[in-house]
């Protein structure tokens, strides 16, 4: 079962703060992932005003890929590209990633809306992905 995921955190000015590929990757999709997520940002904006929940489920589809989004109160978007449908697991993954993001924010040396470069963050995201998505 080769399930692959692409996870990105997008800041308020639409630039990515963190990106990672989880699982086995196919070569041709590396650049495509960024394009798909970027295009889906508009749909996130639309869906955002439809509901007041943080987790907006699957908002877009591109060929085989589904795009799911989660919007934090300060309008930072967590986006996940996935092939399989797993709403609950993805929601839990997003919630835990949100908590990780909060911990990053609490670091006074981290300026919001700048790329997250901490290795610890990277390791923890991978652990969460292993826990919920695989």
């Amino acid at each position: 079962m080769s399930s692959t995921y692409y996870f990105a955190i997008v800041g308020t000015n639409d630039s990515p703060l963190y990106e990672t590929e989880l699982g086995v990757q196919r070569d041709e999709s590396k650049y495509l992932n960024q394009f798909i997520v970027h295009a889906a940002l508009d749909l996130v904006d639309d869906a955002q005003f439809m509901s007041t929940a943080c987790y907006l489920k699957t908002i877009d589809r591109y060929n085989d890929w589904n795009v799911s989004a989660y919007v934090t109160p300060s309008n930072t978007r967590l986006m996940l590209l996935h092939e399989t449908k797993a709403d609950d697991a993805i929601r839990l993954f997003f919630t835990d990633c949100h908590e990780l993001y909060l911990k990053t924010l609490l670091n006074p040396f981290y300026e919001p809306n700048t790329p997250i470069q901490s290795q610890a963050f990277d390791i923890k995201v991978n652990m969460l992905a292993k826990k919920y998505l695989f």
């Binding site: 308020t12 007041t52 943080c54 934090t72 924010l105 006074p108």
Partner: protein
Amino acid sequence: MSNPQTVTATANLLAALSLDGKDSAGDRQVNGSALELLISELVNTLTLTTQETKWGSETAAQSDEPKEEGAVEARTLADAPKRSTGARSSPMVSGWQEVPDNSELMEQVYVKLELIGFRIGRRLAERFAPPNRRLTDTLDIVKFVCKDIWMLMFNRQIDNLKTNHRGIYVLQDNKFKWFLRMSGNNGGAAAARRAQPYIWLPCGIIRGVLDSYGVGTVVIAETLGLPQCTFQIKVVSDA
């Protein structure tokens, strides 16, 4: 020397830990009075360090003598016309007896305090936002400030909220927690004026919370009698 990041770190830590039951980071708790003590020291330290860096650095370049003597001497000579009598001695001695009337100094302190509050506010908003529900209406956000943020920081809510529904909100707190332990010799207007720096930090915090929701604002605070203070929020952006 305190720098804004260390100060923000401590303030963040205290703000995040000094509440019961909402802590997901292992239930460590800090005595709430630590925040009050921090704040009173914060204002004082920032004033002194701003004074030192602004006037200390100008005079340090002028003399080769040991810093203390040179600094004090050069300061009295070169800066006497600029400074009020209150700031004549070295910072270690003056303490807080003389309130610097130097408005330029206080303006710098205002900018720093407000900026620190802004950074804290942004993080507070994200950390303590109501879970799984996003606030869209500006009035809702202001109510969130009045109820949740005030409850977190001061363990009580804002007493009175007024709005003209066109972008101006007035928040009135009749027993502002940080003022409860302050008293001036003559009371009244003089004490209120000296208490001004202590409400600049909450101004910044309110502005930070609103900014994190995308609402650009200008927040002004004033106090008429000591335990009472009023914050006026003016929405600047067209959202």
